[in-house]
């Protein structure tokens, strides 16, 4: 029964991820694609040599290709978040199924995206040196893994401190630990700035805002949709737990 519940939540997580991916795709297409096109236009205007035939046309990249990438990303993170949800449920705090889903989504947005983004922000085409792709890829994934591990460590730390400091101060202490540790990582990891001098600053800013909007949409929709789906899947367990907790009280209340 427990294994079936995990499978049920996993499937629902992937479905919620797909729904979140669809809305994120709308944002990516309408806010992002015009900036990608503008950056590619800049690149072509400044290219000294022209490459051969494009393997995939711009039209396909900006529609079917973009959809594939964003939807697969949504489903994959939906599945991972659902598994994290299974672990966190009832272990992190006394939150119901929907509040847990929304909190997890918020934590996912911050740990998986915002923290790495503040060090290694999303870049439009033509703003990075192809020569440094190896280092940039390694550092980006390192930053994501580090940020997620630190977030998990902060949650565990907060739980450990809660009996001594109370929930409020334990949460503040865990948050301070996370900010400090992330700050240290920012300070010691190398930065990159390879944006060409004449690349329009407004375009860079708009592209990064669009990239941020895509992720905020993705994680928010995921948290809301998954919360509803998980609540339904968990209804028998919630009822059982509620029943157990309610019984001693029910006996004490005179009818």
């Amino acid at each position: 029964m427990n294994s079936a519940t995990v499978r049920n939540l996993l499937v629902r997580g992937m479905l919620a991820g797909l729904a979140a991916g669809l809305l994120a795709l709308v944002v990516a297409y309408f806010l992002g694609e015009s900036r990608v096109d503008a950056a590619i236009a800049f690149e072509e205007a400044h290219a000294h040599e022209h490459g051969g035939v494009e393997a995939v046309s711009r039209t396909m990249q900006s529609t079917a290709g973009l959809s594939t990438g964003v939807l697969v990303y949504g489903v994959a993170f939906g599945g991972i978040a659902a598994l994290a949800y299974c672990f966190a449920l009832g272990r992190v705090g006394r939150f119901g199924p929907r509040a847990s889903a929304l909190l997890l989504a918020a934590a996912g947005l911050v740990a998986v995206y915002v923290v790495p983004f503040l060090k290694y922000p999303a870049n439009p085409p033509a703003t990075s040196d192809p020569e440094t792709i190896d280092q940039r890829t390694t550092l980006y994934f390192l930053m994501v893994v580090l940020s997620v591990l630190l977030a998990v460590a902060a949650v565990i730390l907060g739980k450990r401190l809660a009996p001594r400091l109370g929930n409020w101060n334990a949460t503040l202490a865990a948050g301070a630990f996370f900010v400090l540790a992330v700050g240290l990582a920012y300070a010691f990891l190398p930065s990159y700035n390879e944006v060409p001098k004449d690349f329009p600053a407004t375009l860079l800013w708009q592209f990064r805002l669009a990239a941020l909007a895509v992720q905020v949409t993705l994680w928010t929709v995921f948290g809301l949709v998954f919360g509803v789906l998980a609540e339904r899947a968990l209804a028998p367990r919630t009822a059982a737990a509620g029943e157990e907790a309610a019984h001693p009280r029910a006996a004490a209340v005179p009818h």
Binding site: A55, Y120, D134, Q215
Partner: protein, 73 residues
Amino acid sequence: MAQSVAQPTTNPTAVPAKLPIGAIVPWAVFFGILMLVLLYFVGAEQGATSVVAGEDVHEWVHDARHLLGFPCH
């Protein structure tokens, strides 16, 4: 009686029972890895590392890679 059964499902503050770690781990290992492989193909294949020869995977998900914040060009 009917009230006590209906109440917990509609009460948003009711906390469901924990899922035992042993029931989660098999799913987490198998599907966790599968999801990470999917993310790898969207975010990094044919960039710093290549599993499939050529540029087709990179070119196909190229715009998503930029807009999802992965390092590209």
